[in-house]
Amino acid sequence: PSGQRITQKPLFLCKPFVTSQLVKGSFSTIVVLPRYVDQGEWLALNLFEFFDMLNKFYGVVQEFCTPQACPSMSAGPGLDYSWLDANKKPLRLPATTYIEYVLQWISNRINDESIFPTKANPSTTTAVNAPSSSVSSSPAGAAGTAGQTWIGKEGGFPPNFYVTCKAIYKQMFRVFAHIYHTHFAKIVHMSLEAHFNSFFAHFIHFARAFELLERRDIEPLRPLIDSFEEQGLFKDNERSREQ
């Protein structure tokens, strides 16, 4: 039966839903790195917020994402993601199990103080109270990284911070892909499509600004992203660049 499905356009690419947006105007106002702000802090906050909301979006389709209805983590015809176990062996899991694993995995990272520190940053505090003191001392200055620099170094994020962000982003994308391809009708029934589209457009805009997704990662939703592009959703607005 899959032969026939391929020719049928998925619901999320059909009008009026493909053009349904909660947020009007360009996302760049809230995507572009604010001036003078630590990039690590910006990535951390945004990932945190994307995760929180994605979690909630999955929460509204969860009751339909059963092992029977979604025996695999599919993202459109012919595409099933597999989960790599501890030995990197690919496992085919029901979507609900896969997503549960993903969300838990991300949650563990986002709540890990050594990757996403949340407590008052000692170097920041001293620097604000005593502006004359040196700002270069980084608490994450692990052995062997002394002379190096990396995204988030100043804010006390570890050297692998950016790589971790990318890995998280890649998995979050897959959850979007599964919801769009399998549960979008439910989203529409609940009148959430404008919210979900805007959330996804924001997610992609942010990924582009900080190169968090590889070209091949986004394949399952490329037509949607292209459509958003045509609709002008990713246009940079000059003024927001100045932030």
């Binding site: 951390a44 909301m53 604000v128």
Partner: protein, 488 residues
């Protein structure tokens, strides 16, 4: 699934979520609100951030000759503040992040503690509220909106709210700590004030209440326990939005029952027992020190009880006839009476009797002969404790400000003048203006005790667990407040 013409890609899709479980529908509703709030807030954050940067650049220009090095440092400093603020937005505060120094207040749904934030060492007042109790009343969403506006107001007359967060059981409010205690404690200590001192507190209250009214709100619960004293001895109105509305003191049915005389709920009979020493409040005189002191003791116990004290509530509120902002001016009148006379005008043996007196205020308002008040003071009190249509302040606070009792008050500089009592503090965690010892003996409210007995206060929210619609967006943090308080 998608049907219709493929040519124009347009589908007709009848929406129907009636077969979805109610919990899914609830989640969807909550999510909608959350997403909308999130984008509105994100844009607001960006706009505010931009403003701060523009202000800094103007500062730099304004200061004339500034070395490049210094300019760079200023910008770096702003960057650090902004970065810390981003981090705060990511922070999931937990009760464990605060160390309790002392319990400084108790209420029906929780406690107020002096706490220290573990990582920064900063001092705050933390109010805990039992969510289960709050859910019972449906006014919460509206109450939350009030609270947010007031938190946003940045008014010097309202206690600042810095953060709020929740776990499965409690809602936590982290506020600025006002070390001077409250007006109730002060009245218990000094018994009565002279007219000059009274003028100072009343004038400050007028401005505070006016500030609340200007924001479009009615406090409804102005009483000496809610008038807090800051480190300079100036007053601020305590956080109220959250509690107002689900206290029994605002429950129409409860008033109705009281007025009908069926006041034998366990709480009121307790109060009756505590108050039983006092025979007839109205004939208390200054010479009856013991009796007054007994009243004061029970007064404080009353403040800790679920019932709360009805002494300061305007008659129209519990006569269920509708009420407006002027109800707060009535409360002010009763507090002024208490400051000058030593007890509130309608105090009585039990709540029921107090209600009866308030409703019959015309025959019950009585100025004891042995206490000499100036004609201006008495006239102002009578102007406030009167029917709502004739009440001073009905047409705005200016009516009250113009009253002869306030002659000579400079309304514009009121917050900067020397206060009559300035707390004498030995440290930032000095709690000598709070009845901390007494509080240790105050029994925990029944609802609270039940929760503690169940031992689920440690319960954590699991990932994805719903936190309930009314609390969405309740994780509140605000840059200006944090910066001013040195939280950044």
């Amino acid at each position: 699934q998608a049907s219709g013409s493929l040519k124009d890609d347009y589908v007709v899709f009848p929406r129907d979520d009636s077969t979805f479980s109610s919990s899914t529908r609830e989640r969807a509703k909550a999510l909608k609100v959350k997403v909308e709030l999130h984008y509105n807030q994100s844009v607001a954050y960006a706009v505010e951030r931009n403003q701060r940067r523009v202000e800094l650049e103007q500062d730099i220009v304004g200061e004339g000759k500034m070395s490049e090095e210094r300019k760079k440092r200023r910008r770096q400093q702003l960057g650090k503040q902004e970065s810390s603020f981003l981090r705060l937005r990511r922070m999931r505060l937990h009760a464990d992040d605060f160390v309790t120094v002392k319990v400084i207040g108790k209420g029906a749904f929780g406690e107020v503690r002096l706490v220290q934030k573990r990582d920064t060492g900063k001092i705050y007042a933390m109010k805990t509220l039992l969510k289960s109790e709050m859910f019972k009343k449906d006014q919460l969403a509206h109450v939350k909106a009030e609270r947010d506006v007031l938190a946003d107001s940045d008014s010097p007359w309202v206690v600042n709210l810095f953060y709020s967060f929740q776990d499965a059981v409690y809602l936590y409010l982290i506020m600025e700590f006002l070390p001077g205690g409250d007006l109730m404690t002060m009245l218990i200590k000094y018994e009565i004030f002279g007219e000059d001192v009274t003028r100072f507190y009343m004038a400050q209250c007028v401005l505070a209440i006016e500030a609340v009214h200007k924001l479009g709100f009615i406090h409804r619960d102005i009483k000496p326990d809610n008038i807090l004293i800051d480190k300079d001895g100036h007053i601020k109105l305590s956080d109220f939005g959250l509690s107002t509305g689900f206290h029994k003191t605002h429950d129409q049915k409860y008033y109705q029952r009281l007025l009908e005389g069926s006041s034998n709920t366990p709480e009121t009979s307790n109060n009756r027992a505590r108050n039983s020493v006092m025979v007839d409040a109205i004939h208390l005189t200054v010479s009856n020190r013991n009796q007054i002191n007994t009243w004061r003791k029970s007064r404080r116990l009353m403040a800790y009880s679920t019932v709360g004290t009805p002494d300061y509530i305007a008659p129209e509120i519990f006569l269920n006839k509708g009420y407006g902002q002027e109800c707060d001016w009535w409360s002010l009148g009763t507090i002024m009476f208490e400051c000058l006379v030593g007890w509130p005008p309608f105090c009585a043996e039990d709540a029921h009797e107090t209600y009866r007196k308030i409703v019959n205020w015309q025959s019950q308002l009585y100025f004891p002969e042995e206490i000499i008040l100036s004609p201006e003071a008495e006239d102002l009190i009578r102007g406030l404790i009167t029917s709502s249509d004739k009440r001073l302040g009905k047409r705005g606070a200016d009516e009250i400000k113009a009253h002869p009792f306030f002659n000579g008050v400079n309304w514009d500089s009121l917050r900067s003048i020397e206060a009559p009592f300035k707390p004498n503090l030995s440290s930032i965690t000095d709690t000598s203006y709070f009845p901390t010892e007494e509080l240790e003996n105050v029994p925990t409210a029944p609802a609270l005790a039940a929760v503690m007995a169940e031992g689920n206060s440690q319960q954590q929210l699991a990932i994805g667990e719903e936190t309930g619609l009314p609390f969405i967006g309740y994780t509140y943090k605000r840059f200006e407040h944090l910066k001013k308080s040195g939280g950044l």
